[in-house]
């Protein structure tokens, strides 16, 4: 909390009790019934939703989230029913979204960076045990046949089974079999229906064959007891896994080979003495392993460093080229004697108005080596690999970004130039300065003072200019020697996206570690550049 610094702040905070009460009375008198009604309805909706959420969360026994939701709901009600807290009333709606989807997710990324979250490690140990056992299940050779009726309840399938001695029980993938007594049966004693469930007919079963064939209903809470599965939808058989889980010492034993897979506490998976690993594993905190991996292994460190360098080079070159062209054009068209300046201006902001993701795709078409307009028409059928040669791809990206970005700089510079009083130029000319000197020594410094913050934000924008890179070259040409999926033109953010979401294996932990590294880089650049800007401001 900061202390008020200006006179105005202090005066307003020092309001007397009386004037505050007066303000409240005035406020109450002015707020009509309509306002109150709207307030009550809106808060009612918010509260109804939170009560529903609390109900579901309590059922799931997710106590931390229950506490958070209850707390936020109470705070919101308190803010809006209180007669004070006026600023909070205006800030709360935006702040709630900001806290959840900006601040919380940044912190959450930080947490994920210290886990092995990703393909094969995305759940709890109990889930991993179940998944392993289910995936290695085989039908018991001489198992009895259970009479089966497939039931459905709000989209979830259950098995209603009649075992050989006539006991009827029901269970689903998530809840083990339990005995029921109120099932309807047919003449042979096989259960056919249960109150509250819909029994599937043959045609329904055929329609959803795959889901039903994949269903595995545990016999009891102990996964080692096996589960029931059905090959045909009318009878079920007992399947047991050759993996046996021992909850006491937390190991998995393969009953046919006798190999014991133990949880080594580090990788979040069962590992045999030979080093063989059973997957899926589960999510564990791995400390700095992801960061060590990112910086330590040559196959990732190499690409990471070259991607970082290219990201800086790309962002810097983008700002310089677009600012250079924009400034040049602003000077050229900042001449009152010139006619039709508005026409030029409208045409030149067209690239800025065209959606950027489409521009990149259109340029990708025009730069296509075999069929593109540039090679076929401009270069008369030449075969120049604009997007597949490492350096030409980099050049293409800078060039297309120039097309995309110069109109913005042109507009900004035009505005900034017009705000520089013309007397300055006249005075300098009278003093004998040549036009170039006037520009370089007087206009440019003045201009830089006002556009420097925009240049910094443009740098930051291009630092994370995902769309251009991903749509134009896809980050390619691919670097085949790298240990992660990166190419020559990938910038940090597109590398993060590709490691996390493209390809078969996803490594959320490593991705988040990259994100954290980028956070730190961006923060560093911002701090340094803002200090520079302050220095520039003092020039004035």
């Amino acid at each position: 909390m900061t202390t008020p610094r200006t006179e105005q702040d202090a005066a307003q905070l020092r309001q007397t009790k009386r004037s505050r009460r007066a303000a409240r009375v005035a406020e109450a008198a002015s707020a009509g019934v309509k306002v109150l009604l709207v307030k009550i309805v809106l808060l009612g909706i918010v509260d109804a939703i939170s009560v529903y959420a609390l109900f579901v969360l309590v059922m799931k026994q997710d106590w931390v989230v229950v506490g958070l939701v209850a707390f936020v709901t109470l705070v919101v009600n308190w803010i809006y029913f209180s007669h004070q807290k006026l600023p909070a009333k205006y800030l709360a709606p935006g702040l709630i979204f900001l806290l959840i989807f900006q601040i919380f997710v940044i912190g959450y990324s930080g947490y994920i960076a210290f886990t092995n979250y990703g393909t094969g490690h995305n759940s709890t140990k109990a889930d991993a045990v179940n998944a392993l056992i289910v995936s290695s299940q085989e039908r018991v050779p001489d198992s009895a046949s259970y009479g089966l009726t497939v039931l459905e309840q709000s989209g979830e399938f259950s098995f209603l089974v009649t075992d050989p001695d006539g006991t009827i029980s029901v269970g689903s993938a998530t809840s083990p079999l339990r005995v029921v007594t109120d099932a309807t049966t047919d003449a042979t004693g096989k259960a056919t229906g249960l109150a509250g469930y819909t029994s599937l007919r043959f045609a329904d079963i055929v329609a959803q064959q795959q889901d039903i064939a994949a269903l595995s209903v545990p016999v009891s809470d102990d996964p080692n007891d096996g589960s029931l599965r059905t090959p045909d939808g009318s009878s079920a058989y007992l399947y047991v896994s050759d993996l046996v889980y021992s909850a006491a010492d937390g190991t998995m034993t393969n009953s046919s080979t006798g190999v014991v897979y133990a949880d080594n506490g580090k990788t979040g998976s069962f590992v045999a003495p030979s080093g063989e690993e059973l997957l899926p594993g589960w999510k564990v905190e791995v400390g700095f392993a992801n960061f060590v991996h990112a910086f330590g292994s040559e196959s990732i460190r190499g690409p990471l460093i070259s991607v970082t360098l290219w990201t800086f080079a790309f962002a810097l070159l983008s700002v310089l080229t677009t600012f250079g062209l924009g400034l040049f054009l602003a000077i050229v068209f900042n001449d009152l004697r010139m006619r039709g300046r508005n026409v030029y201006r409208v045409v030149m902001i067209l690239p800025y108005a065209f959606p950027a993701f489409l521009s990149a795709l259109v340029w990708a078409g025009m730069l296509n080596p075999q069929f593109g307009f540039v090679n076929q028409v401009l270069f008369g059928g030449a075969d120049i690999p604009w997007l597949t040669n490492e350096w030409l791809a980099k050049f293409s990206i800078i060039f297309v970004n120039l097309w995309l970005g110069f109109p913005y700089m042109f507009l900004v510079c035009t505005g900034a130039l017009q705000s520089i009083p013309s007397e300055i130029q006249e005075a300098a000319t009278v003093d004998g300065a040549r036009p170039w000197q006037v520009f370089r020594l007087i206009k440019l410094p003045l201009l830089l003072v006002s556009v420097a913050p925009l240049l910094i934000s443009s740098f930051a924008f291009n630092f994370n200019n995902f769309n251009l890179i991903y749509m134009l070259t896809g980050g390619g040409p691919r670097d085949v020697t790298a240990g992660v999926n990166v190419g020559a033109t990938d910038i940090l953010i597109s590398m993060v996206y590709k490691v996390a979401f493209v390809g078969a294996s996803r490594d959320y932990g490593l991705t988040s570690a990259f994100s954290i590294i980028i956070f730190l880089l961006v923060a560093l650049v911002s701090i340094v550049s803002f200090k520079q800007t302050k220095a520039l401001e003092e020039l004035n």
Binding site: R5, A29, K89, F97, V105, M338, V347, P351, V451, G474
Partner: protein
């Protein structure tokens, strides 16, 4: 007091000088030359896409013959692709963009109003925080957003992963930030005496905000709304991981996949999609051009 301008030579300039091409060219003519080059550079890719979209059954290679055939076939093909629900993408983009920008403007204006008109503890820190938080772009936390939404899906499938409401909520996380800062500056230019006069007349804060202030700051609301709409239309990363079902996706996600699947064979259909997709944004831009230029330069010039 200003000193009267001395008698300078410009008073002796004859009213009509003979036209001299060399002089005209060195003064303003060359500027038109630069202008012509820039017009070609700026407009050519757009004309290229328009021409490609009008080529019947065109591929990338036929697109090179500019406007040598004109036909609207690609536009009708576009709406009849079995795998690519273009009309749905289009509607989704407009819907998500409109809701996001309206809510962004509203939330941002609420915050800007309180920062501009009220004095409270933590105000300076709050303003500073808005600027700092904005430096960390949301797309860096894309993994966390994905996992958060998939967590929400377990409780509220209606607002979790693969829902448009979920996506809009993520976008609204960025509603406060640079936008608020821009609006805050504009709110400050509206004299506080207007508020006070209204207060004396018995108007409450809500009434002052909704009926007086919001109307006075309309230009900046238009700029922020447009920038937010454009930003949402262009957004690819978060939309691509949140929206999974093709019918729910946006143009950025859908058209990218369309292009990456069949790039050169169906180029005219993509081009038609691109032309239609660009229309609303470009129309808004040209319509609000005056305000945008004002808004951008207001940000740059102190």
């Amino acid at each position: 007091m200003r000193i009267a301008a001395p008698e300078t030579s410009d008073q002796y300039i004859p009213t009509k000088r003979p036209f001299n091409f060399g002089r005209w060219f060195s003064r303003t003519g060359w500027r038109h030359l630069v202008g012509a080059v820039m017009v070609v550079f700026s407009a050519f890719p757009l004309l290229y896409v328009l021409s490609a979209s009008l080529h019947p059954g065109g591929t990338l290679i036929t697109a090179n013959g500019l406007f040598n055939e004109v036909d609207l076939g690609s536009y009708s093909t576009l709406f009849n692709l079995p795998q690519q629900p273009y009309a749905a993408w289009y509607g989704n983009t407009l819907l998500i963009g409109t809701i996001t920008s309206v809510c962004t403007v509203f939330l941002g204006a609420l915050a800007a109003y309180s920062f501009s008109r009220m004095r409270f503890r933590g105000r300076r820190a709050g303003l500073l925080m808005l600027v700092l938080v904005q430096m960390f772009p949301q797309l860096l936390a894309v993994v966390a957003i994905f996992l958060l939404l998939s967590g929400i899906s377990d409780i509220f499938p209606a607002i979790g992963l693969d829902t448009q409401i979920g996506l809009i909520m993520v976008y609204l996380g960025g509603a406060l930030g640079v936008n608020t800062y821009l609006m805050y500056g504009f709110f400050n230019t509206i004299p506080a005496s207007i508020d006070e006069a209204a207060k004396i007349d018995g108007a409450g804060h809500a009434r002052i905000f909704f009926t007086i202030i919001l109307r006075l700051v309309a230009p900046i609301l238009a700029v922020v709304g447009l920038l937010s709409f454009v930003g949402t239309t262009n957004e690819f990363v978060i939309a691509s991981i949140v929206l999974i079902t093709p019918e729910k996706q946006t143009l950025a996600v859908g058209l990218y996949q369309f292009v990456s699947q069949e790039f050169s064979s169906n180029y005219s259909v993509f081009a038609a999609g691109a032309v239609l997709a660009a229309l609303p944004v470009m129309a808004l831009f040209l319509f609000l051009q005056k305000y945008i230029v004002g808004g951008l330069t207001a940000g740059s010039v102190k």
